[in-house]
Amino acid sequence: MYVAVKGGERAIENAHRLLAHARRGDQSVPEVTLDQISEQLGLAVDRVMSEGSLYDRELAALAIKQARGDLIEAIFLVRAFRATLPRFGASEPVDTGAMRVQRRVSSTFKDIPGGQILGPTFDYTHRLLDPTLAEGFVPEAPATAEASTAATPRVTDILGRDGLIEPSPQAEAGASVGDLTREPLNFPADRDLRLQNLARGDEGFLLAMGYSTQRGYGRNHPFAGEIRFGEVEVEFAAEDVGFAVPLGAIELTECQMVNQFKGSATEAPSFTRGYGLAFGQSERKTMSMALVDRALRARELGEEALAPAQDEEFVMSHSDNVQATGFVEHLKLPHYVDFQSELGLLRKLRQEFAEANEAEPMKEAAE
């Protein structure tokens, strides 16, 4: 039960003033700029854009600064901001096959056309803290090599040519694209809605869910068919212009998970797949997303769905960290009246208990 509570205005105002002061920290230390956050904490910005579900580096950097580095708070701020702007429409679907690849690895084929390209990665670093980074570090200029003009086809396209992997589901003519920011979730949910939910879902939650499938809770034998990161062009069919106009480029990470076979009396067995896509360089996120996407296809693929990661209602209802934090953190707001009524009930129960126990011995004595 919620009731209006009056009072505390001055305390709240002063608490916010104190917050602004704490956010700034020691004022003899230079203030951090949005450019610094965007350039030097780029992966935090990527995460806030992905889970805030809004591609805008500058806004994500501002949110991180305002939230004192609390990324879930920053995601909350970005989500609130997006609600203030009108939507012009939806883009043409981006073509990740035409991505200007800055990283592209496959754990299934050593010799993929276009090659294994490591790009800027933490992989193969020793995870030893580097004291030289503490101050004044100037990195060496990157090495360069002649860039190949060869295409970098998706690994799934190569497997698909021989029919070794299931094709991606195609849209039915005239089918609309589900949008969970417009309609409330209903179950069972189609895969477009599930992917939208996972794309804005909490990385930690998806990581744990994906990990659980690897440990046997909904096992589906994954291989990282391909992970790619780079820039893709965005086009928007503008009504006033009458054709698709270029909007510029965004950075995306895509993960194609290749999973164990499915076949039937009428269909030859083939690999199945799970898909992950997110803003920026978000590798852990897209890998986890692809694992969970595949697990959530249990029903469609006729698998026994016993594990949490295969339960779409469980996964989709708990993946959103803004919803989750709202409900968990509302517990700290005043619940005085609720609590008073519980307290009243408890006192009554205790009194009844005491009376019953007092009455008992007297009853015995009477007998």
């Binding site: 990157p142 190949s148 909007l247």
Partner: protein, 137 residues
């Protein structure tokens, strides 16, 4: 026009300053909004909604009647207006060639140079596998 969407507002404005621009007016005041970005299931399947992006748009009309539209990612309203102005100018007989030569072509070269740099740095991280004969190494 894709070149302009990749450029900074300041770069476009600086290039336009070298031209004696004709009179023009805003047909649509520059405004901010959102576009829902879509991906495809599996990269090549049915579309799904990935998340939104901030977008700016504007429309400009030259005194001679040509109408240009400007759309770009981000909240740069001035950039959208400059793109709309360029879009109108390229349609005009008097300014089309000059805008292509003095604005778009140099910005295109700058964009391609940036992409070549990233591609060369990326290429250096490509793995060259070699096979060791058993018993060696």
């Amino acid at each position: 026009m894709a070149v302009l969407a990749h450029a900074e507002a300041g770069e476009i404005a600086a290039r336009l300053r070298s031209l004696a621009l004709p009179d023009h007016q805003d047909l649509r005041e520059p405004e901010n909004g959102l576009v829902m970005l879509r991906g495809r299931i599996g990269g090549d399947g049915a579309p799904f909604n990935l998340g939104e992006a901030t977008v700016s748009r504007a429309a400009v009309r030259l005194a001679s009647g040509e109408v240009g539209f400007g759309y770009t990612l981000g909240r740069g309203r001035e950039k959208a207006r400059l793109i709309a102005l360029c879009d109108a100018l390229v349609q005009s007989r008097d300014f089309g060639a000059a805008v292509e030569r003095d604005v778009i072509a140099p910005l295109r070269e700058q964009l391609l140079a940036r992409r070549r740099k990233v591609a060369a740095e990326t290429a250096a991280t490509k793995v060259d596998f070699y096979t060791m004969v058993r018993g060696e190494g």
